[in-house]
Symmetry: C2
Subunit: 253 residues, 2 copies
């Protein structure tokens, strides 16, 4: 079941009903995290204790599947459920164990980000995620997704990784990783002059949107986490106007 | 503000609060439509009358902008707001008139469809929409989106057009349009053997998912509208397993 974004008010009425009528409620906050709600606010809303599972508990699935074999169980995740492979895997194992499951949809960053910026949903190519940098680990897939989308005139939504302790990857560091990768690869299409829109706490009352050239954004206040950003493709005039109005894109860039 | 999918229970708690605290509520149901809720159910939930606008009233924006210049106004749309250009345009005009606006995100078909099928969100290329057929009007862009995505191994979410009177375009007719377009273009990558997953009332309690070859789906019961479908790209083994489990994809195809 999806909790939506930001705080406990992102849940749908359907989700609320389903959770309240469950006998046990589990949650995971390692694939994403609600920054606007303490666990106690969620528990107050649902009228029940919520058991938060660590990554290995979700992956093993033991506690949830055991509880679900006896009674009605809800499993809460941030955003829209089933985006993570682990969730699909868990649902498949429930089915193999003869447990009926139902997905309760939630608000997702994938569409909220486009809408907040006034970008057209059908002009997005594949989404990508930038992981934390690590010695000897320099994935090129995020840059490749951006380049392939750009060649087709499309935007790329870029998500940022999250550590299991709840630390969010920062947008400036991620932009620098992309610049380094583009330089190493010899791909001038993504350089300091590239147009990007950075979103902070999208969908929340504190939402902040900043659009401009990469080199400018590296020196601007991009708001508090969580962030995501969009590497912009070809802009329709209405998209440009929306970016100027709602994300401060400088005119004429 | 997004109403989510299917019925009045798809709204988020944030949306509910915002609508209830508005002095006037407008809605449009021509870009999409809730099949599981009468207008009276929405009005009961919100505790207020809702004024439903026709396409030209949304495009002119007159009634909404006038009301919004005097008081707090909510504008309800199905799914996630700002997916339609008209909504972005309306928001820009509100801003030009000095009216503060806020987007309240909703559940979107774009991510719900992927999650319901167990398909990985980052394996989708651009989304496309198939319009009703009309004499002399044979858009090739839906087929081109599918072909470009397939070449990159990606899935394509395909939405179906809606007439302003509320009639939904049917998935079988849309599949036939695609087959005709592929034959006319000489594109054997999308033919009767192509793998497709059709979704009926996704995100609702009546959700129905059917996956298989196009030629087989043309003779199967695909459930009641609204529909959308996914032209499948390269399948990860977990995606295949999920399609077999939840959408009846025959084994070994």
């Amino acid at each position: 079941m999806g909790l939506g974004l930001h705080d406990e008010k992102g849940i749908t009425l359907r989700g609320l009903e389903e959770a309240r009528s469950s006998e046990a409620i589990f949650a995971e906050f390692y694939t994403s995290r609600l920054v606007g709600a303490r666990l106690s606010a969620i528990e107050d809303l649902l009228g029940k204790k919520v058991r938060v599972l660590a990554r290995e508990e979700v992956e093993s699935g033991k506690a949830i599947l055991e509880a679900a074999s006896r009674s009605r169980v809800a499993f809460l995740v941030v955003g829209d459920p089933m985006a993570a492979t682990t969730h699909v895997d868990l649902r498949l194992r429930a089915r193999a164990a003869g447990i009926r499951t139902r997905v309760v949809a939630g608000v997702s960053i994938l569409t909220t980000a486009a809408g907040a910026l006034g970008l057209q949903a059908y002009k997005f190519g594949r989404t990508t995620t930038i992981p934390f940098p690590a010695p000897g680990f320099r994935p090129v897939s995020p840059l490749e997704a951006i380049l392939a989308n750009r060649r087709a005139g499309l935007h790329t939504l870029i998500l940022l990784d999250l550590r299991e302790d709840g630390t969010f990857h920062g947008p400036k560091e991620a932009l620098r990783q992309l610049l380094d990768a583009a330089e190493a690869k010899g791909a001038p299409e993504f350089g300091p002059e590239a147009l990007v829109a950075v979103l902070s706490r999208v969908g929340s009352p504190e939402e902040r949107l900043v659009a401009g050239r990469v080199r400018e954004l590296l020196h601007q206040d991009l708001g508090p986490p969580p962030h995501c950003f969009v590497a912009l493709g070809a802009l329709h005039f209405l998209e440009r106007e929306a970016l100027e109005a709602f994300a401060g894109l400088p005119q004429g860039v």
